[in-house]
């Protein structure tokens, strides 16, 4: 499609040595910080609010609104405020954040500093998944350079403002991408989600007001300070302004990360950016926003655009983290779903009953079904288990494990009943929920 494809997040990607301070600064890094530190913190939050920027970790919650939840100094007493950058990137199908950090670590550091100043935090932690040791090493090197240059730590740019930024490495747990689980992990414990309320903005890390933002979200912030909210709003759609990184994988010719304005037609992302399917193949299904969101049919793919609203209206699915997984006609959808449920059964934190017991249960049923050893009764059980997990758990993980099952059973029932050797029953009710 002939729409402008502005580069906000990827503006310094591809430059030789883009991860070094010298190159980053030559191309504008830390100019927004200089400007932001002269602004009132509330004015920065206002810019972010006005921009309509929505959290890029998956939930799509307006970032400026989230920042506004931090209690004002007179209400929070002497409690410090913390900024946490969620670089746990673990949603299957999502691999943008590692490229964000790898190609432009200084944009993240700058984003963290501005956000910290806006919310009143003196300390920011960047939580990276354990497997990203090599990413952390590069980020630590960038932090060291920035610290050396007086951009991080005490008296930033001579303003008298102190903000420290530290990296923290996880150790292998998908659930730590959930913000309260991340906080539990950062506090040194098992990565188990916390009950809400209280919400992290009020009582988060170490029971202090805490804002958790995704890498991509924070990397937009310097651009917003530089160009203003209106410029951002001019990109994308009314309700989903700006650009987004899409991580494209699966049966496509050019898998990779693409920055596109929100509202970009899904079919064009598939055919143009991703280079389309391999020769002689036809499209079977697409998971548009990371493995947790409901699957889409080719017909839905043709009609949807890549933004928070359209995907939901057209397919009842979500933009999520922008993990775009393409499956062509050679895909065994039963095996694909069994694969995903193996993931969820392996990653459930085990804290609350429905998810702890239900994910393993769904996986074992799907394993049997994929092997042709299950009946239509097992399919009904699978459906019930998914429905009984959804919305009944401490965190969103339960729904994340249930939605793939619910949507595959709803949109591709013939694949599943066919594996059980029967036709789809006339009275098949994918949403009916109950234990019998």
């Amino acid at each position: 499609m002939d729409v402008p494809k502005p580069r906000i997040l990827t503006r310094r990607w591809g430059l030789e040595g883009s991860h070094t301070l010298a190159v980053a600064r030559k191309h504008g890094a830390y100019e927004s910080l200089r400007k932001a530190l002269t602004m009132e913190p509330s004015a920065i939050t206002q810019v972010v609010k006005d921009s309509g920027l929505r959290g890029r970790g998956g939930a799509g919650f307006p970032t400026g609104v989230k920042w506004g939840f931090v209690p004002p100094p007179e209400k929070r007493g002497d409690k410090p405020v913390y900024l946490i950058c969620n670089a746990d990137e673990s949603e299957p199908g999502t691999f943008k954040d590692r490229y964000c950090i790898w190609n432009d670590p200084h944009a993240l550091i700058e984003g963290c500093l501005i956000a910290a100043w806006a919310i009143g935090a003196k300390t920011a932690y960047i939580y990276l998944r354990g497997e990203f040791k090599f990413v952390k090493d590069r980020l630590d090197a960038a932090l060291a350079e920035a610290r050396e240059a007086g951009l991080v730590g005490r008296n930033i740019l001579g303003t008298g403002i102190d903000i420290d930024v530290w990296t923290h490495l996880g150790a292998g747990a998908y659930i730590c991408g959930e913000e309260t689980a991340l906080l539990s992990s950062l506090e040194g414990g098992r990565g188990q989600p916390k009950l809400k309320p209280p919400f992290p903005a009020v009582e988060g890390a170490w029971r202090c007001p805490t804002i958790v933002n995704n890498v991509e979200t924070l990397q937009v912030v310097p651009w917003l300070i530089e160009h203003g909210a209106a410029a951002y709003r001019a990109i994308g759609t009314e309700k989903s302004p700006g650009t987004k990184l899409f991580s494209c994988s699966g049966h496509i010719r050019r898998p990779g990360v693409y920055e596109l304005p929100l509202g970009y037609p899904m079919i064009e992302l598939l055919n143009d950016e991703c280079g389309g399917l391999h020769d002689g193949r036809t499209l079977k299904a697409v998971i548009p926003g990371g493995s947790s969101v409901p699957v889409m049919t080719p017909d839905e793919v043709a009609r949807a655009t890549m933004d928070y609203e359209s995907i939901n209206e057209v397919a009842g699915s979500y933009l999520g983290s922008g993990g775009f997984i393409v499956m062509d006609d050679r895909t065994d959808l039963v095996a694909a779903l069994a694969n995903l449920l193996r993931f969820y059964a392996h990653e459930s934190c085990g804290q609350c009953s429905p998810c702890r017991e239900g994910t393993g249960w769904m996986h074992s049923i799907l394993q049997r079904l994929a092997a042709g050893e299950a009946t239509e009764f097992d399919i009904a059980t699978l459906r019930d288990v998914a429905n009984n997990i959804h919305s009944r758990t401490i965190c969103f993980f339960g729904a994340s494990a249930a939605m793939p099952v619910q949507s595959f059973l709803k949109k591709f029932p013939e694949e599943f009943f066919g594996r059980a050797g029967v036709d789809v029953p006339d009275d098949w009710q994918p949403r009916a929920a109950s234990a019998k």
């Binding site: 309320p197 609350c352 009953s353 393993g360 009764f377 009984n388 009944r392 234990a435």
Partner: protein, 533 residues
Amino acid sequence: MPTVKIDGIEVEVPAGTNMIEAARKVGIDIPHYCYHPHLSIAGNCRMCLVDVEAGGRGPDIACNMMARDGLAIRTDTPQVATMRRATMEFLLKNHPLDCPICDQSGECRLQDYYMEYGQYESRLSDPKVTKHKRVDIGDHLVLDAERCIACSRCVRFGDEITGTGELRLFNRTDHTEIGIFPGARIQHDYQGNLADICPVGAITNKDFRFTKRVWYLKETDAVCTECATGCNVRVCHQQGQVFRLLPRRNDAVNKSWMCDHGRQAFEAITGLDRLLRARVQGQPADLDDAVAAAATLLREAGGGVAVVLGHSASNEANWALLKLTRDNLPNATVYAVAGNDPGAWDRSDDFLMDADKNANSAGIAALMAHDPAIRDRSDLVQALADGDVDVMLVLGDDVLGRLGADGAGVRVIHVGSFRCTTSDAATVVLPAAHPYEQDATWTNRDRRVQRGRRAIHPAGDSEPAWALMERLGAALGKAPGATSAAAAFKSLASSVESFSGMTYQSLGNGGAVLASPPSPPTDDEDALETIHA
């Protein structure tokens, strides 16, 4: 105070009350496993999911839903029934269903809630996850990790109550497993509580294990008399035999807890040191004869008569003893000997185990305030040293042991439940009932008067000490009026100011605090002004 609505019933509750407690107030039981009123909220079992009618988004868990105006929940919708059934199905998914060999049977919330809210047909075709079984985790505890539903109550108990943190959930997913560090053991003095709060059969009490099916047990409300704390307990017994003790909730005393020593103290009821028969001059005697012999000793004492109140004995027995002394033995001196018996259980902490191992020290203090003629320990030491004591009547305590005296030249009448230095030296021994064998009250360290009820019949010839005092008083000429525990208490309450107005009925299950003695007049006019402002 916010007003909330539960199944259409409005109820006003203090701010910070959750919906499980609010529902309890209007008689609606919201099933739960992980929630415990004396532990932090974990919200992991999901059994208390309810529908939110107004003031929030539902379904949500009642345990973490705090009362606020406008909040309305429903526990009676088809969706709630579905959610409860589903949660039961999840919890039992990997549960071994070994009820026939599980000690928790009969008081297991998995069983109870399955019958009430589950009742589904099994649709499991997959093998269950296996975990560690029969793990020795402490002197009093055995763990079966397969039965665990990962509610984390025991973890929170170790973190929040004992602060020892031994128990943890290990691994994740459906392999999540409760346990302790490899090779470690739980060492603290509150282990039994872990078995109590385990809502299923994962942690069971070794001492009780395989001794009795719980549905045969009767329960009687009583008070532990092993130290001055006075933990409220339930005595579980059948056919005159006590099988276990459980703590009984009293937020002002022991919350929901008790120590392991107190929990096992009932074993002394049938212990070798128990005094079951009256004795005169070292020979077994009929109780009537022994009482008569004691009366004769007291009446015909050549020298001084010392009457020693019992710091462990009940308010009723002490009052009856004091009264019979004042009524019948005008020349006797009454003493109170504080301190612990030699060989008494010697552990204490700043939680439930008080260093004072006497159950009724505060009751004795109240009597001393009432009757200033009661002398203390040093006076008795002096009297013994001066040879001023010919006959000594001792209620319960091992007075000779406490004083390190041999009792030479003193003729002792000992009224007690257990053999000790004093009973060994005694000319007359009257066997007293164990606290769990009688109705009586004790006054704990916070001056709370608490009722214990008789769980079992007194063993052997023993009788409640207050009844023995009644017999002795009658033999001396004027009985103190302790014809029953209630009568003795009534007499006490009408005579001793700090007990004034108390009745067994008014004590109820939670007890009542003694009236404070009038405070001394203050010269501080500022303080008075503040009070009157």
